[in-house]
Amino acid sequence: MSSRRNNTIAWIGALALLALHLDFWRDRGTAMVLDWLPQELAWRLGWMLLAGLYLVWFCRAVWVEED
């Protein structure tokens, strides 16, 4: 994949994650998932998982090593 295309995907990915973090549109309920995980915490951990995957991809596809 071209670096220009990767850069575009990286920007879109970062902006999408930012939009999901600024989630004032979401109902931030206090229900539990599986009876032990608060919905709010589950949402944030899910977001962090996505961010982690994004970073793994970013390091491989966008970050050019210049050593």
Partner: protein, 492 residues
């Protein structure tokens, strides 16, 4: 065993361990200034990761965050942890990686020296040094106070605060002076392991205690029955949209602008190492932040009724309540480890900046190291004096510092990524950003108002950052001076 005795034994073991690790690191190190200030620019993944993480995570995460979560619940996690898991690694790429390469190319050993050489402007170096120092010293004072108070509480007042604070400074100074960056990085591996390991273990033990022996399920049920609001996010104050957005900007950008973080990024042996660290950061943040926040939430169930800043004691209350004395000593060591893992980096970095940015680099490589050690002592003494005579204003300034670093980020970023960016742009950016930041603080209510809305609901940090961006562009285009091109301002 008497709690005081078990704590004394644990404390002695800890001091012997960190000083011992510092000594071993010293024996591995060479004697050049590059070795002392930057560990020979050769830190690999594990040591650098723990050094960065240990430096990044202050005692505030262990003590202040549970205290805040006691009142605000899971919202404290929501507003902080996710965005830094993404933001910090991206700033390592945007600023840390080119800073490392350019510092190697230009022979720079401190952040201010890097930018002074990049712009061929001593003024840029001095201005950066000034703001780095203004924002870092109050930070160090609050850390020392936190460690001193912890020692006094644990020893039931038998160790006065001033002796506790002085002892922490002396121990950090000893191993920092012995082995410089390599010693601080190696000791941070030990310190990070202590506080990270303790927090993860304590989380499960406390959950079991609060949950009446039913583990996490019981604990969460107890929280829901006590106050279901603790499992959600508040809507006012810092959690309102404009403040939330400003805070997201602040907390994700500020870390790379800590001089003691940036200098560690400059000590990486390669871009590959930095990449590995970026991949590890989210996992480590989850491991620390989930326990830190949940300890406060569980504490609200175990010790209801604390008001205001009283909740900052919730960490030690939970440790004392749910852990046997021998293990509770580890809890206080965890706080101490978090304090010292940041403090050593700050002493080393400010000492090296005094040595190389204010005085000119010495012709004799060992001369720089000697000066760095001497200035480390000067910094430690200054922190101690500020703590004892500075009064409340120092602590107000500390809350300003965290956001204040963000005002430097436009210049730090553009200085590495925009070849046309010049010294005039950098100076306009830094000075303009700080002028607007302090005006916004004044509008928000004064020095203690860094987390209160200024204009249109946004926090002062947002206005300072925007002013920094505008100042950078205006200063650059209105000046006839050309920026460096090519390798000197290496692009992405």
């Amino acid at each position: 065993m008497d709690p005081l005795i078990s704590f004394s034994i644990a404390l002695c073991a800890y001091v012997v361990l960190v000083v011992g690790v510092g000594l071993v690191a010293t024996r591995r190190a060479g004697s050049s200034s590059e070795e002392y200030f930057l560990a020979g620019r050769g830190l690999g993944t594990l040591v650098l990761f723990m050094a960065l993480f240990g430096t990044n995570c202050t005692a505030f995460v262990l003590v202040g965050i549970p205290g805040q979560a006691y009142h605000d619940g899971l919202g404290v996690f929501s507003i902080n942890a996710p965005i830094i898991a993404l933001g910090i690694p991206l700033t390592f790429w945007a600023i840390g990686s080119p800073a490392r390469r350019l510092a190697r190319e230009l022979g720079a050993m401190t952040p201010a020296e890097l930018y002074a050489r990049r712009f061929r402007s001593r003024a840029v170096g001095v201005v950066l040094f000034t703001f780095f120092t203004i924002y870092t010293l109050p930070y160090m004072v609050t850390a020392i106070r936190g460690a001193a108070v912890t020692l006094t509480v644990v020893t039931e007042g038998r160790v006065p605060e001033w002796i506790g604070g002085a002892a922490v400074l002396v121990v950090a100074l000893v191993y920092t002076s012995l082995g410089g960056m390599r010693a601080t990085a190696w000791t941070n591996v030990v310190q990070g392991a202590i506080f990270l390991g303790f927090m993860v273990a304590a989380f499960f033990v406390f959950a079991n205690g609060v949950g009446g022996g039913e583990g996490l399920t019981g604990a969460m049920r107890a929280v829901r029955d006590h106050d279901t609001g603790l499992l959600g996010v508040k809507e006012a104050g810092l959690y309102a949209p404009a403040a939330w957005t400003s805070w997201s900007l602040a907390i994700s950008l500020t870390v790379v602008a800590f001089p003691h973080m940036l200098v560690r990024l400059m000590a990486a042996d390669s871009d590959r190492t930095l990449k590995n660290i970026c991949r590890l950061y989210p996992v480590a943040l989850i491991s620390l932040w989930v326990p830190a926040v949940m300890i406060g939430v569980f504490g609200a169930v175990a010790f209801p009724g604390l008001e205001g800043k009283e909740s900052d004691r919730i960490f030690s209350m939970m440790v004392t309540e749910y852990l046997p004395p021998a293990l509770s000593a580890l809890g206080f060591l965890a706080v101490l480890a978090a304090v010292m893992s940041t403090l050593d980096a700050q002493i080393l970095t400010l000492g090296s900046m005094l040595s190389r940015d204010i005085l000119r680099p010495s012709e004799d490589p060992k001369g720089d190291v000697r000066r760095g050690r001497a200035f480390g002592v000067v910094i430690a003494v200054a922190v101690f004096v500020l703590w004892r005579v500075g009064g409340q204003s120092i602590f107000s300034l500390a809350s300003v510092s965290f956001s204040g670093y963000v005002t430097l980020t436009p210049a730090l970023f553009l200085g590495l990524r925009w070849p046309r960016f010049n010294a005039a742009g950098a100076l306009t950016s830094i000075l303009g950003a700080n002028a607007v930041y302090f005006l916004a603080l004044e509008s928000a209510g004064g020095l203690g108002s860094a987390m209160s809305p200024a204009w249109f609901g946004f926090l002062p940090v947002m206005w300072g950052f925007l002013a920094g961006c505008a100042g950078a562009v205006l200063g650059t285009y209105l000046s006839s001076e050309r920026g460096e091109s090519g390798a000197a301002a290496s692009g992405a």
